[in-house]
Symmetry: C2
Subunit: 153 residues, 2 copies
DNA sequence: CGCTAAAAAGAAATCGTTTCCCTTTGGCAC
DNA sequence: GTGCCAAAGGGAAACGATTTCTTTTTAGCG
């Protein structure tokens, strides 16, 4: 399995978003897809530096934003207010996350209950909801059981 | 109703948090309490400048954080990732917000459904939730009805 | 009234993020 | 295959919200 020949179908994903399929975008998606935890732009940049002689941090920011806007990856808002990114394997459309602020694992939460909340809010306020931020932070069962596994962001 | 003599009971609130009752803290709370919308630290600072000859922006940040940690005011995370603050009149303990990204009005949302979600998440993941971010963004009924009322943040 | 720790001022630093401008490249046309 | 052009990327620099630092002031207690 060579990343130069096996592109995990990311090329098609990029094309759908109207984005050119560049090596950097492909590798960004590869790294995010292989990583089980959410990453900061700078961390992703450091990983990319190992595979490209030249790679700028602005490029990483730009692509992360485009990919997130396209729904290919999702954002994680850490309580420290920094932005992290996560490749969502769940193909199940819109949903939310329970993130471990220790080891950075992410678990998917189905969207259902939030949709119910939205309906109630719209009914009661007469407003219109354009977006929402729903995220649960805590310790996953691994970090809960074994404090030694805990890491700091 | 003079703010020098009528302190809305904010002194007691500050004392409960172990904070000294300073004129600046009192006026910060006054301004936030009178304001129906969420404010940025800088906006609050500008308002304070009208009432104090010297008032530093770091002071505003420091106090906002202390008050938010104490639960006296609550934070609003705007999609633009800036932090805003809002004085919650609802005494009903923990709850969430529907914010209008146009006029900045805030409506309270009871906590109930989120608590149910949390229970389900804990059961399913075996983790422990330490905090959550739940916020709905959109247009309130006023801005929905009258686009002229809309303002940009 | 004096003391002491907390609070505040003001300037400067920090740092995540974005902008600018120039160079390179993907992808379609011929 | 070659050329073209808009999109993508590099690198430096700007930006701007937030924080840190050091000194001065003040609240609140004895």
């Amino acid at each position: 399995m060579n990343s130069d020949t096996e592109n995990h179908g990311f090329g098609a994903v990029l094309k759908e978003l109207g984005l050119k399929e560049t090596p950097k975008r492909r590798v960004m998606l590869e790294i995010l897809a292989e990583e089980q935890r959410f990453l900061s732009p700078e961390e992703l940049w450091l990983a990319l530096k190992g595979r490209f002689k030249t790679i700028g941090l602005p490029t990483v920011y730009r692509n992360l934003e485009e990919l997130a806007n396209g729904g290919v990856i999702s954002t994680v808002i850490h309580p420290n207010r920094q932005l992290y990114y996560y490749f969502c394997t769940a193909e199940s459309g819109h949903h939310h996350h329970f993130i471990c602020t220790s080891c950075r694992r992410v678990e998917d939460i189905p969207e259902c209950t939030v949709a119910a909340m939205e309906g109630e809010i719209v009914t009661r306020t007469g407003g219109k909801i354009t977006s929402h931020i729903v995220q649960f932070n805590g310790f996953c069962r691994h970090c809960l059981a074994d404090p030694n596994e805990r890491t700091a962001i």
